[in-house]
């Protein structure tokens, strides 16, 4: 080769270099390479579809594509379908998949990477309420350093438009003193805000 810095592991083919990365300013990385790079662990194409992940996945019954199918779809470059699926949002990060995978493929981390990529790329999110929950959760941390559950829930309800579910449970919890409207904030809120600003990915 030309002696230029080798960027991507070859997996049996000629290694890709800096020159191969972009052509006329267009990113030529495949979806598979992009995902593998972000996972920064075992290459997902090690998967040989034994389906232990899918068999153990508690949410597979509700998912659009099974976890092992998502791996195949990434290899086939089906970026739009994967990022637009309900699968990546219904993953509960229970880590059963990676615990049992015989090839040590970090499927749970893969789901994190796919979610983060979907957010960054502005893809239409299939399970909007799931993302709205995460956004409300993080907004509460950014504003007070901790979660204030009633305020977070109001924020979630406004973001999701789901105004009335769990009203009964909410009222009951409030009456029992479990949902305090005032709760201590982190005093060093500046560091918290700095953490959010410096790790911003949106």
């Amino acid at each position: 080769m030309t002696g230029k810095k080798i960027l991507v592991k070859s997996y049996g083919c000629l290694p890709l270099t800096e020159d191969d990365r972009t052509v006329n300013g267009v990113n030529m990385k495949t979806f598979l390479e992009e995902v593998n790079e972000k996972i920064n662990g075992v290459a997902i194409q090690r998967c040989y579809h034994c389906r232990k992940c899918t068999a153990g996945c508690p949410l597979a019954f509700a998912m659009e594509y099974n976890p092992n199918k998502v791996i195949k779809m990434i290899q086939m470059g089906k970026k739009k379908e994967v990022l637009g699926s309900s699968t990546i949002w219904l993953c509960a990060s229970c880590e059963t998949c990676i615990t049992r995978c015989p090839n040590e493929v970090d499927i749970a981390r893969m789901m994190d990477v796919l979610r983060e990529t979907a957010i960054k790329d502005g893809v239409a999110v299939k399970e909007k309420n799931v993302l709205s929950f995460h956004q409300a959760f993080l907004a509460s941390i950014k504003s007070r350093g901790r979660i204030n559950e009633p305020f977070m829930m109001v924020d979630y309800k406004l973001k999701s438009g789901d105004l009335f579910s769990d009203m009964g449970m909410g009222i009951s919890m409030f009456m029992k003193g479990k949902l305090s409207l005032t709760s201590p904030k982190t005093r060093d809120i500046d560091t918290i805000r700095k953490i959010f600003d410096k790790t911003k990915n949106l």
Partner: protein, 283 residues
């Protein structure tokens, strides 16, 4: 023994009874707790699901503060916080460039080496079952719990280093020491659906109903857990005809040790456990 204490957001809110019972249990067993100074949220599921660096930086700030404390151990009762702390340590210990980046983001140095422990571990390994047995004043006879560990205490195994991750035993042994008739079952670490409880309640309902059905099949009359989200899901999302009372393990330890507070804590549950415990003569 002296340990730092990281309650996390839920223990000051919906898991109030866990916080109070952990503190009562610790006082009775001679564990001195010192809350981590000016702690902040660990980020839980929402951080790692949307932003990797944020998910490391948020717990890292707390680890860095706790490291400077007197105690070399921090007790983390919430399973999600426990998991995120262990994950952050794992990433910071294995990725030097990430560590430097996070130190820059948080503005403090990360030394490493702080022991992050769940109270089950501290009770089982540091206090010991014999010491616990000596303090039991009221054996929980007639209580037939199944132990529900959930996901985040035990997985990923190389990060949590908790114990036998497909069939854990620590909580079961603790309950046996208290005199309960612990029922074995195959669902100790099957996911309850976690934070999907708000956004996809239907899915969580199915998972929790499965757990309750299996608990009943195992002959249990209650479920014992150590995670605030699992508690909320098991307690509030089960179908009417399948529900069972659910306890934090620290509530049962406090009950068996004859400590004050159990009647207050039981009132905070959704499924009232008082009919069960009073029928067994435990209150």
């Amino acid at each position: 023994m002296k340990v730092s204490y990281y309650p996390g957001c839920s223990l000051h809110g919906t898991a109030k009874e866990y916080d109070q019972s952990v503190k009562a249990m610790s006082r009775a067993l001679g564990i001195e707790l010192k809350e981590v100074e000016d702690w902040s949220c660990c980020g839980a599921t929402s951080a790692h699901s949307t932003n990797y660096k944020l998910s490391v930086a948020l717990p890292a700030r707390n680890l860095m503060i706790a490291e400077k404390g007197e105690a070399k151990e921090v007790m983390v009762p919430c399973a999600a916080c426990f998991n995120r702390f262990k994950m952050a340590q794992h990433h910071l210990d294995h990725d030097e460039s990430l560590k430097k980046e996070v130190e820059g983001i948080v503005g403090q140095k990360y030394a490493g080496g702080l022991k992050v422990k769940n109270p089950i571990d501290i009770l089982y390994n540091d206090i010991g079952l014999d010491a616990l047995a000596e303090k039991v004043t009221k054996k929980l006879a007639g209580l037939r719990p199944v132990s529900y560990y959930g996901c985040l205490l035990v997985r990923p195994p190389e990060v949590c280093e908790f114990e036998k991750y497909e069939n854990p035993y620590m909580l079961d042994d603790i309950m046996k020491t208290l005199g309960a008739d612990v029922k074995p079952w195959s669902y100790k670490t099957d996911c309850c659906g976690g934070s999907l409880t708000i956004s996809r309640t239907d899915v969580v309902g199915k998972l929790v109903d499965k757990l309750m059905t299996m608990a009943r099949e195992a002959g249990a009359n209650c479920v014992v857990t150590a995670c605030p989200v699992c508690m909320t899901n098991l307690d509030a999302r089960a179908s009417e005809n399948l529900r069972l009372p659910v306890f934090y393990f620290t509530e049962l330890v406090s009950l068996a040790l004859g400590l004050q507070g159990t009647s207050t804590w039981f009132k905070l549950h959704n499924v009232d456990p008082v009919p069960l415990v009073s029928s067994l003569g435990l209150v």
